[in-house]
Subunit: 131 residues, 2 copies
DNA sequence: TTAATTGCAAACGGTTTGCCACGTT
DNA sequence: AACGTGGCAAACCGTTTGCAATTAA
């Protein structure tokens, strides 16, 4: 995933991409694998993961994930928002007012009913932006 | 983690809880383990995980995580918000307007600089709330 | 005494990676 | 020819779990 990598075309990657664009679901790697296994008899899960990472690197698809790979825990159970450093992964509490009216926006403008949301802001923390 | 489980006290759990309350960082299980290993010589990581889950179950702490355990991917790289079903884990796109002014709120009211955020709403999807 | 908790080690499950053959340029 | 890609299987790593011994109620 180096910066100056030259990617070549591959049928598998193109199908993964078109498959992801053709659905409004938010597929998992395993689902993509089982779908494309029908077309590519010898497809392996490793290939799916490798290509997904390339596509994310190319910014053609996005990974829906909170940030770091392991769970983090918070002794503060009150709703509050977080600032997540895109470089070091540090999570900091935001001294911001929580906006319960966001729930109301969703409840009146969509068919969904919600009473809870999660809001994370991304950027560089002080020490990382100083570097 | 059944509903009518009666939890007994344990020194380890009480220290995990007080440790989580004493810091504004958002520790990982491994960090908690290495801190408390100093006090409990034979502490094991399994104990930390078990007690974390109990504390989450008791709603004394919160787990900072997006939802399901495996990554999901989206062919739509435009910023958009999601509705996540708390029961089945399904992720759906919200036909909502994105609110770039939320970034401005953070940038003017806190010391942080952000140009990107992620907003997830939680609730029950149509089929799960029908049940 | 009963049942929850612990430490230990093995198992789990999603993801990554090393290797070598194959495909693209 | 040079090098990215695929398939396969093993490795990785955070988390969970089975078990026997310990501890709280």
């Amino acid at each position: 995933m180096a910066d100056k990598q030259k990617y070549k075309r591959s049928k598998q990657r193109e199908r993964i991409y078109s498959l992801l664009c053709s659905t409004k679901d938010h597929p998992t790697a395993t689902w993509i694998y089982s779908e494309l296994k029908k077309e590519f008899n010898n497809l392996s899960l490793g290939t799916v993961y490798r290509n997904i990472n390339i596509l994310v690197d190319q910014k053609k698809i996005q990974r829906l994930q909170s940030g770091s790979s392991f769970d983090r825990f918070d002794g503060n159970v009150e709703t509050h928002y977080h600032f997540i450093c895109e470089k070091c992964g540090k999570i900091e509490d935001l001294p911001c007012v929580v906006l319960p009216e966001l729930n109301a926006v969703v409840n009146t403008n969509t068919g969904y009913h919600t009473e809870k949301h999660r809001l994370d802001f991304y950027g560089f923390c002080f020490s990382c932006s100083a570097q």
